[in-house]
């Protein structure tokens, strides 16, 4: 009879024996060697009946279709932009996917997204050779103006976001910062300087303690300790108002789309005239 040698949430390192016996089944992050199931990476053991797998604790981001990430424009090519995805692979943002605006042939693409700009985008395709396509057409996908960027362990991102975004919403409300979390471990924060610092500390605390229970309460405690109650109330009211404003402005934008496109074209023509 097979035997599972590890407990749930044990830290295991590559080569560790997790189970013995052919009736135990190797799953993600494990492999079979003879009768044994061993760890094929560092992580936490996860046992489901006779199945053992490993939850990763470290490692760079690997692009996955459907992920929303924060990426940096690092090159402009004929047909669009190349983006640094904070992974081993860059992504391609095609002109059609970049904006709902009309882009005229030969337009200066850096006027839309310039080198060094950060954008929130969604991965639409990843090939076996890791060619990555992204799109910016969709709700919340946009260029990030100003603010500041921090990097966290990409495996801790789900905890930082929290269930249905509860953790990040709590931090947003308490600090009145705008926060965007990319699946690729980049987090954008923008608000009042001292509140930004508290928001970032809260995020980093959530990252460091991601594997522990009662995290939400502790982050709440941290925020309460660092921000007086009245200020939090005010921030929350502001944060909620701003988010509804944002919605409004988005609809507003859509109505005005035609106008803006025209303006954009005009700029372009001017550009060409100059040349």
């Amino acid at each position: 009879m097979g035997e599972i040698k590890v407990k749930e949430k044990d830290i295991v390192v590559p080569g560790d024996i997790l189970a013995t016996g052919m009736d135990c089944l190797p799953s993600y992050g494990t492999y079979r060697l003879g009768d044994d199931i061993r760890a094929a990476r560092l992580g936490l053991a996860k046992v489901e009946g006779k199945v053992v797998k490993i939850t990763s604790l470290s490692g760079r981001y690997i692009p996955k279709r459907g992920d929303t990430i924060i990426a940096k424009i690092y090159d402009v090519i004929m047909s669009g932009w190349l983006l640094d995805t904070n992974s081993a692979y860059h992504a391609m943002l095609g002109m059609k996917e970049a904006t709902s605006r009309f882009i005229q042939k030969g337009a200066d693409l850096t006027r839309i997204y310039a080198l060094g700009d950060y954008v929130v985008c969604k991965i639409t395709n990843v090939t076996s050779q890791k060619l990555v396509d992204v799109s910016m057409r969709g709700p919340g996908l946009r260029k990030l103006e100003g603010g500041r960027m921090i990097e966290v362990n990409t495996h801790k991102v789900p905890r930082i976001i929290g269930k249905d975004g509860s953790m990040v919403t709590m931090i947003k409300n308490a600090t009145n910062c705008r926060i965007t979390v990319g699946q690729n471990g980049l987090i954008w924060v923008s608000g009042e300087p001292d509140m930004e610092n508290i928001a970032i500390q809260a995020i980093q605390k959530a990252e460091a303690e991601a594997h522990t229970g009662g995290l939400t309460d502790r982050i709440k405690g941290f925020l309460d300790k660092n921000i007086p109650k009245e200020a939090q109330e005010k921030n929350k009211a502001k944060a909620q108002q701003e988010s509804s404003n944002e919605e409004e402005s988005r609809t507003f934008d859509r109505d005005n789309k035609f106008d803006r496109d025209n303006r954009f074209d005009r700029n372009n023509r001017f550009d060409r005239d100059k040349k």
């Binding site: 060094g116 603010g147 500041r148 300087p193």
Partner: protein, 255 residues
């Protein structure tokens, strides 16, 4: 860092808030550990927050330069190891590491921190040579000031190896220390927007307009290096030198 993010950083500094909560003129925690390499005649590890460098001194007996026949030799080298940052590459030293080494070298040399005349063994024939190498371990900003402290700490730690007039026995060290009498500390002041900050973190180091490294010893300036793409006014230089000298006095206490 793009322009909008730089603007955001400057606005934060304008309100006196740094991204790591420090005051504009506040260093991160400085830690010095001596004798971290048994292979070197002297060595030290310096941490400025997450920034970490180590420096080691090797002593050897060389023929002096013809124009200074009775003076020992000194050379500071630096390697920005690719181990310490994703931005550093393998290959021959780039301009960044050359500048760092030369600025630190100038400080130690011009302050006459080590009495090189005492390093003469036989005039015109044999003198002690000090090779001090800085290796970066982790770059979280301000490698230059960290290197400056590390070089001085390594010199302070150094002991002569046994020398019988023909060969050096590196296995055995004497109790004799280097004739080090001064501690010329480099402090770099960064100008970001209209703000002056010391000991920059990585964000600040990406956004700065100009910087000035001021090496001070016993209340005098012994080396300067201005860097960055933008010029400085004389009034700004006055402020920066003042700030650097004040910080240098505080920092010297860690050695």
């Amino acid at each position: 860092m793009n322009e909008a993010m730089k603007k955001h950083l400057i606005e934060s500094l304008n309100k006196g808030v740094r991204y790591d909560k420090r005051k504009l003129d506040e260093f991160r925690k400085v830690e010095v550990e001596y004798g971290i390499s048994k292979s070197a005649e002297g060595s030290a590890r310096v941490k400025l927050g997450d920034t970490e460098v180590i420096a080691g001194v090797k002593l050897s007996v060389e023929k002096p330069y013809p124009d200074t026949p009775d003076e020992g030799m000194l050379m500071v080298g630096a390697e920005l190891l690719p181990l310490s940052s994703p931005e550093f590459e393998t290959g021959p030293p780039g301009i960044k590491s050359i500048e760092l080494a030369r600025v630190v070298d100038r400080g130690v040399r011009e302050a006459k921190a080590v009495d090189v005349k005492k390093l003469c063994i036989e005039k015109g024939e044999k003198v002690w040579a000090m090779f001090i190498d800085v290796c970066t371990i982790n770059d979280a900003g301000n490698l230059l000031d960290a290197s400056g402290i590390a070089v001085l700490a390594a010199l302070k730690d150094a002991k002569f190896p046994k020398y019988d007039g023909v060969e050096i026995n590196y296995k055995e060290h004497t109790d004799e220390k280097l004739p080090l009498s001064k501690y010329p500390l480099p402090v770099t002041v960064y100008k970001i927007g209209k703000n002056l900050v010391v000991d920059p973190n990585l964000d600040e180091q990406e956004a700065y307009d100009a910087r000035l490294t001021v090496t001070t010893t016993e209340g005098n300036i012994c080396a300067l290096q201005k860097g960055g793409d933008n010029p400085l006014s004389i009034d700004e230089i006055k402020q920066m030198v003042g700030l650097a000298m004040k910080k240098s006095e505080e920092l010297i206490k860690v050695l």
